[in-house]
């Protein structure tokens, strides 16, 4: 049998390669870095991510298809490369504050972060359902391990196992969906699926069910109700830095693939499934916010809040069209910044010592660590959607997309939800600024990288909140390029 090797155009791989090579380099380099200098791992990771960002910026505007259309280089993909690499960069920074110098296995940790980043990038740029699946698996496998990184802790183990089992389940759905779509259209390449459907051929139940199964798979990854059950436990148990990475990165990658598949390849299916997504969006927002109201554990609160935010993004997905898709991109950036910022602030506030898990632990921090607490407050206001922050602008675009697409009911439910969410986000601020600490806590050593991550996120949150035009233009260009 002749194996026909496809022509490989390396250009679409250019932003991904630094990450892959960086991951391998960290794995090898860790053997040679002397004990006590283990932060070289992190620095190597930062360098490879920075290189990837640089390449992505240079490639902006280039459109290429590689490996038989299995990999696509376009503005849409590049936009997500930038988002994902930025998320990863911030994650490495805040991890430097979380893992102390003596934490063993730092090489594994950072290389897993990079491999997971690689998976996210594959998902964002996959032009073939199989590549998207590969990306999904690469990302998930790395994250399964990372969430169990604190081996000695029961919660961390539980988190990893739960994530593995449910993640595998979701992968099954996803794969089955791919198989059905292949059965219906004879291909898994998105471009050809789109061409097949554009011919006006009637798509039978196979395709509709296949699309539904993909929806389930994506639903798991973006933690949409009713596929959200794993989220709070996994996010709570995983190391805080990993939780931050999962919350911001996985969601961005999953929505990237979601948009590419549903808006570009299966636009007709999108119309059929949008009633279902409408319901999912409402349930996801409402459940996330209502349950977050009663959480006392900050990580769990942010986990439920991330579910609610997935709901807001789903609102934009339902709205569809270029406005809807643009607002998804915009929102994901805002979302990533404010969540990473919040987690970075948690890490910077707690240092390596005792974890600040419960709301009560934050009492009085507003005046003991004024700068960090002010940033934390900023992230909370942003998550609540109060101007002038990125979160507000993101919601503004999402709800205007919903109104433009004539979904006023959805928009009303969305904004009412964000009023509910104000309560629990402000609760953290109330505790930081308006209640006295129960006991004096020993001062914690300051971690410069984590503080840097907080600062970068805070600047970004404000910048996008005050001058959103530039990011919006980028998002618009990315969407316009999709499918060309």
């Amino acid at each position: 049998m002749d194996l026909i090797l496809p022509q490989i155009d390396w250009l679409p791989l250019a932003p991904i390669l630094p990450v892959a090579i960086g991951g391998l380099a960290v794995l090898v380099g860790d053997l040679f870095f002397p004990a006590g200098r283990k932060n070289l791992n992190a620095i190597l990771s930062l360098a490879s991510l920075a290189l990837s960002i640089f390449v992505s910026i240079r490639l902006w505007g280039v459109v290429r298809f590689s490996i038989n259309d299995a990999l696509v280089l376009d503005r849409f993909g590049l936009f997500f490369f930038l988002v994902i690499a930025l998320v990863s960069l911030l994650t490495v920074l805040l991890s430097m504050g979380y893992l102390d110098e003596n934490t063993p296995d730092q090489g594994e940790y950072y290389s897993l972060v990079l491999f997971s980043t690689l998976g996210m990038m594959l998902m964002a740029s996959g032009g073939d359902l199989v590549v998207i699946f590969l990306g999904l698996e690469t990302l998930s496998l790395a994250l399964y391990t990372l969430s169990g990184f604190r081996r000695a802790e029961l919660r961390s183990n539980e988190s990893a196992l739960k994530y593995l089992l449910l993640g595998a389940f979701a992968s099954g759905f996803f794969l089955y969906g791919i198989a059905l779509i292949y059965g219906a259209t004879g291909t898994t390449v998105l471009r050809r699926v789109a061409a097949f459907l554009a011919d006006g051929k009637s798509h039978g139940p196979l395709l509709v069910i296949g699309g539904g199964l993909l929806l389930v798979g994506f639903g798991f990854k973006v933690a949409s109700v009713p596929f959200h059950m794993w989220t709070p436990d996994v996010y709570e148990g995983a190391p805080t830095s990993v939780t931050a990475f999962m919350i911001a990165g996985t969601k961005a990658a999953a929505f990237a693939a979601f948009l590419r598949v549903f808006l570009f390849a299966l636009p007709t299916l999108h119309i059929q499934w949008s009633a279902v997504i409408w319901v999912l969006a409402v349930l996801t927002m409402t459940l996330g916010n209502l349950v977050a109201l009663v959480q006392n554990n900050v990580k769990r609160m942010l986990a439920y809040s991330s579910i609610a935010h997935a709901g807001y993004v789903l609102v934009a997905v339902v709205a569809g069209g270029s406005s809807g898709a643009t607002s998804v991109l915009f929102y994901l950036v805002a979302y990533a910044l404010m969540n990473l910022g919040a987690f970075a602030a948690i890490i910077a506030l707690q240092g390596h010592g005792q974890e600040l898990l419960f709301l009560g632990d934050y009492a009085g921090l507003g005046f003991r660590r004024p700068a960090l607490a002010a940033c934390m407050a900023l992230f909370m206001f942003s998550l609540a959607g109060i101007p002038p922050t990125a979160g507000f602008m993101g919601k503004l675009y999402i709800f205007s997309a919903a109104l433009e697409a004539h979904y006023p009911g959805l928009a009303v439910i969305g904004v009412l939800n964000s009023v509910v969410s104000v309560y629990f986000y402000l609760r953290l601020i109330v505790i930081m600024y308006m209640s006295e600490p129960a006991a004096e806590r020993p001062p914690v050593p300051r971690s410069a990288p984590a503080v840097l991550a907080v600062g970068m996120s805070a600047l970004g949150t404000l910048q996008i909140g005050l001058f959103p035009a530039r990011l919006l233009d980028l998002a618009r260009q990315s969407i316009a390029a999709l499918g060309k």
Partner: protein, 548 residues
Amino acid sequence: MSQTSGPILSLLILLPLLGAILLALVEGARESLIKRLALAISGLDFLLSVIVYARFDPAVAGMQFVERAPWISSIGSSYLLGVDGISLPLLLLTTFLSPVAILASFSGIGGRVKGFMICMLLLQSGMIGVFLALDLVLFYVFWEGMLIPMYFLIGIWGGPRRVYATLKFVLYTMAGSVLMLLAMIALAFLHRGATGRLTFDLLELIGGPIPYQAQLWLFAAFALAFAIKVPMFPFHTWLPDAHVEAPTAGSVLLAGVLLKMGTYGFLRFALPLFPRAAAAFSPLISVLAVVGILYGALVSMAQDDLKRLVAYSSVSHMGFVMLGIFAMNLQAVEGSILQMVNHGLSTGALFLLVGMIYERRHTRMIEEFGGLSRVLPRFALCFLVVTMSSIGLPGLNGFVGEFLILAGTFRVHKGFAVLAAIGIILAAVYMLWMWQRVMWGEIRRPENLGLGDLGRREMAILVPIILLILWIGLSPNHLLRKMDASVSQLLGQIAGAPRAELALPLRGSGLQVPRSRLARIAYPIFKSEPSANNRGPFNSELGTRNLF
């Protein structure tokens, strides 16, 4: 629309903002430096606004000092500021009350001065922005963003139930305003559907062809947001809590400026954008306003806490403002705008006075006082003037505003005017009764004997307010004349083709309110059957068309 060169309005907003950043860099322990800096910045902002007032051209109906810069061009939103005869008095009120409130906070904050002053300056910046923004998105950003410093002011420096009060305040306001945000977006899309241009520019949106059914919904959303802020009965329940718990400066700005944002919102946005819906809603809103006037007054009578009493009296006074706005004629609307300023001054001063007495006695319960006029003569004098201003004694500012509102309302609906007039009587009852219980009689508590009278700083806070109260009371025309053109234009926008009762000239009862050329025709205001020969053609120079 006049274009001027200097970005003076941006400066007005930026100055306190930069001041807040400057304060953040000062070491927190240097409290007196921080206080002085905050006062200086805030005072400088006031001087800037006085320049705006002086250079404001009363003959121009449209926006002046307009500044426009691209902001989020892809959704049609721009950085657009401007001031007209409606926002000018409120702008001045804001810049005037802010330094007063800062000066009042030189004592009695109890720590964390730096944070307090930063919040005050941010709040000032946000409040000014609300009154100057002419782009809907920009307005919303200021409107909501301003919640953040107020949230901290009440939550950190407030009384024992401050957390409850501040959350209630934020949640109430948010709940109202998010729907307004949706209505703004929907309005922009409707306008795009009709004209093909997506814009959030208020001046462009006014007069757009919005279908009646849509107007009703959109007006309702806007009205809800503004009614909560005013607050109108039955959305007022956050107000007493927020006022009672807020620190003195917070109460002053809350009553003096924040409440005005609601009424200003009606005038600036809800009425001109949705004129037909406004007309349809006006009976309902007028009834609620009257209910608010009477309810607020009656509840005030039953209060034993001074601050709570003043808070409920705000509900009553703001009812007057709402009634005047929805009478939709020249006197009533101008009276409302004037009354917003009056209420800001008199209620602001009342909160300051209550704060001063609280600092001395650490209680606000009326029963704890009595006979204070003997030990605190200066305090008594100031308190008396302010109380009288709040009641609406002729010669002081409150009278002019209430009189214009009642006179204007009387033309449209006699019943409402009569009921509202009862509110004035009730105001006299609860205010005078309060004054009597606090200031007169025997000193029943030995603690009250040793109280010190107002100091120099306290007089410096109160005297400017009292001078303004007298100035507006004796010659209201300075302010009124600046409003004429803009209010006439607004009424034209509301009415489309103006109706007779919308803009009748007013003259009589010793209170001359010349409308420059408008008032050429003698017209007795209390004449019950205006005959046709009393109505004359309007001077078209003021933007209204000939009526008959």
